[in-house]
């Protein structure tokens, strides 16, 4: 099978299981809304300068919700030794990484779209005029999370406390992506868009390229037993 066919087959398998169970999407979405609710009580949004803190709150919500989804990526593969089956199938192991990464990316993006919509209503942030830039930044930031998170969740699944290990391994590595995404979103939401916007978008692109290439090279070692 062609490499891209292998990737899309794995992606399609994940979409199908997700469509039938809706586990990852519901949990990410509910958790994201809960985080927004927590922020509301923790910060009293009336007094909150949303222009200053809004992008930060938004991305903290995204990353916490996303981590829930990523924790599940390889847990589901472990049940019934599905991962073993995938590894024995005549596929390039890089395709397993890319397929899982893309399915993570897709589910996170769907959850984030809804969270973003709720966020703009709850905190009264008008994102519609800047929807183009916000979408680009959300995509690039989430791509960074998904690419680093997928390989780290494949690592943490092999430890004794996988749910705890993923945040400990993932958050320090994801830090530049969070910073870039928050700064880019903040710049995109000011009127007119801040000068830093282009810089941080480029930064995110570079981060994404690095953290897709490295896992592609290293993923074989993670699967090997």
């Amino acid at each position: 099978m062609h490499f891209l066919n292998q990737v899309s087959a794995i992606l399609w398998k994940d979409i199908l299981t997700e469509f039938r169970t809706k586990d990852a999407l519901t949990s990410m979405l509910l958790f994201g809304l809960l985080v927004i609710l927590m922020f509301h009580f923790a910060f009293e949004p009336d007094s909150l300068d949303t222009e200053k803190y809004g992008p930060g709150l938004l991305w903290v919500t995204f990353i916490f919700a996303g981590m829930l989804g990523m924790n599940r990526t390889f847990v589901t593969e472990r049940e019934n030794d599905n991962l073993q089956g995938l590894m024995m199938a005549p596929v390039n192991w890089g395709a397993i990484y890319l397929g899982k990464m893309l399915s993570n990316l897709l589910f996170m993006l769907i959850a984030e779209t809804i969270i973003l919509f709720c966020f703009s209503i709850f905190f009264n942030v008008d994102i519609l005029p800047r929807l183009g830039w916000v979408s680009v930044i959300t995509f690039l930031g989430t791509l960074g999370f998904a690419s680093a998170g997928t390989i780290l969740s494949a690592i943490s699944i092999n430890t004794r406390m996988s749910e705890v290990m993923l945040p400990i391994l993932f958050l320090p590595v994801a830090l530049p992506a969070i910073l870039g995404a928050v700064e880019a979103t903040a710049a995109a939401l000011t009127d007119p868009p801040g000068a830093a916007l282009g810089f941080w978008v480029k930064f995110l692109i570079v981060y994404d390229i690095i953290f897709i290439t490295l896992p592609l090279l290293l993923f074989d070692y993670v699967l090997e037993e």
Binding site: I151, L152, N158, T159, P172, L175, P176, F203, L214, Y221
Partner: protein, 224 residues
Amino acid sequence: MKAHNVHAFLTFILMLAAIYAVFVYAPTELTMGEVQRIFYFHVSSAWISFLAIFLVFLFSLLSLLKSSRHWDIRSASAAEIGAVFCTLVLITGPIWAKPVWGIWWTWDARLTSFFVLWLIYMGYLMLRRLVESAEQRAKLSAVFAILGAVDVPIVYMANRWWRTQHPQPVIAGGEKSGLDPEMRIALFISLAAFTLLFFYLWRLRCNLEELNDSGEAMQRRLQS
């Protein structure tokens, strides 16, 4: 064992020289006073933290490419000692910062990246404890070490760009344009002493792990 003893002796002598140079030979800093003397050990520990993470990165690559226990032991040992020195940086830094800057901590690029570096060391060590099989432990921790080591310079640069775009009060300390020649000598002695100490501890740690391995192998042979 001979080379080992020479190494230990040299480290001891150089450590004594460093203590003398830092506390007696180097002049007292004009504005900061005596507290500035922590600078020599602070910078030396920071250098060791960087050296160690670089070695962890290198040995992890080698351990993946050659899939050998030899490089895995070297990488894990460097990480353990690097974590100790990185902790020292994070302890000596605030002790120096409080009287000089008036605050214990600031989110400056260097401080932030050391914090992240420390978290990566801790993640690496924790990961090693939590993986059961030895072969898998070597591979998984090596992959994480490579990702983590690549991440640290990105965090540093991101913070620098971030701060330059949001001008902040200028933070003193760190780079002093033109170090007093006597201070520079004290710093170099201290750097050399710490480097020797690091490699000494590292050798001990590697030996210990190898002894442990052969002990386990012997036990298995006795049981079978």
